[in-house]
Symmetry: C2
Amino acid sequence: MALLLHSTPERGAVWGRIFADAGEGFIADEAGVTDPALVTHLACWTPPADLARYPNLRTVICVGAGTDHFPPLPPGVALSRTLAPGIEAMVRDWVVMAVLALHRDLPAYLEDAARGAWQPRPARLARSRRVGIMGMGRIGRLAAESLGALGFSVAGYSRSGAPVEGVAVFGADRLDDFLAGADILVCLLPLTDRTRRMMNDAFLARLPAGAGLVQAGRGAQLDMDALRRALDSGRLSAAMLDVTDPEPLPADHWAWTDPRVLITPHVAAHTDAAEGARHALAVIRADRDGQPVPGLVDRSRGY
Amino acid sequence: MALLLHSTPERGAVWGRIFADAGEGFIADEAGVTDPALVTHLACWTPPADLARYPNLRTVICVGAGTDHFPPLPPGVALSRTLAPGIEAMVRDWVVMAVLALHRDLPAYLEDAARGAWQPRPARLARSRRVGIMGMGRIGRLAAESLGALGFSVAGYSRSGAPVEGVAVFGADRLDDFLAGADILVCLLPLTDRTRRMMNDAFLARLPAGAGLVQAGRGAQLDMDALRRALDSGRLSAAMLDVTDPEPLPADHWAWTDPRVLITPHVAAHTDAAEGARHALAVIRADRDGQPVPGLVDRSRGY
């Protein structure tokens, strides 16, 4: 049994030490594979082209939290996405920053600053603002908890509407009610057939006038032209995006310099190398012991 | 007994309703004063010029949290600063936003965005970052709690070094140690003779290289030229300021367009009119009952 890492030399060095300490087989890159039959696990962000080369491959481990970019895997090969407290906390931190930035009119103040204008606007209490979080998985629940602790009135949306302690969760049958109550909408959904281009004109039109949009899901969920129309009509007052369509966003894209839009280049989370290696070790041990694989992705569901 | 409000007609309307409901005497502006001897309390941000006009004045209530701008009051007249959970929560929200913005390299990403550059930088875990909060009053403790909940390693500084649960607090005799451990420094100090121009070249030189500065105290505490030199030398990587010297910052000031500096125009808090009125009622009742006045300012100490 050995894990093959398909990543950078820097990550390879960190993983190599952790696997050596754990006494597990580790190959730092494809060039180091002498016998493909030894490879039982593969960890990567984007898999190498020829997975059929590894006859004993059992599980592919995505080093990030989202796996929508993965091609179909050979029959019998499972997919695990990295569950790491660090990823979850990092996305939560980015979301809290973005919600506060929209809540406190940072886009407008930055626009004022560019022309040297000292122009105070009334500040509002967090408790007067309703934040709607789409996606009530581990990160969504963490964000709900942190935003609730700052005083925001927080609601959640998930396809199932399954209850979450301390948060009013709306299911797919109540999406309209959820959107109507979201002064600041946060998207943390995975990319699936249901969520692709979900945020279009009709969707954004259901938000309260002047709403803010925080996008930390996947770029393809938001129609960027619809975003622009919603900003122009006043339906949205501002947006903060960590993911865009396309990615990277071309240098001449309108959104870069629109003062109503703040963009970071898909950096809400970054898997800590050591955390990723620890997740991979947990997968290997679960496979060996016949236990459920941590982070197992149901590819029909998309997460 | 009556309270005279020296503020805007909008605030006067809100206060008037609350004082009427409470059955307390209220005069909405100086033009409405028929008998100055009736005025026992005055609420304002900046006091009117001639306070000697009111022979029975007992307490002046500042409608904000900071009173450094107040002139000396006539003998026997006390000064109360408004204690309002809303002010404290608003400043906390602004500080959390600013710390996260520096932690997650927002100034650099905004600079990239201006030229359409998609350029991810490594993200770091909050727990790897040390935040040092100067000022361990009500707002400082609230900020420490919120930042600690996000995982930051938080230390506090106060003149006395008085202990605060869950936070390592450094007193004035250990300022150097405190600064050396502040990857992101937050200033929430009141303006006093001791804190005026406190943040100068020598002070900033004690921070770790590449530190971030969050300024939500008072503008006169930070030497803006020293700030610029610290940014140029790399001692500071970025700063987010809600207060500046001078205020308003002139339109042609270098800081407005320096990509390493984010500025908001003294808007971290805004006293909710109803909260301010409730504080004033509490002061009036304490004065009547011979109880300690809430928010009483020790003018020799400055807060």
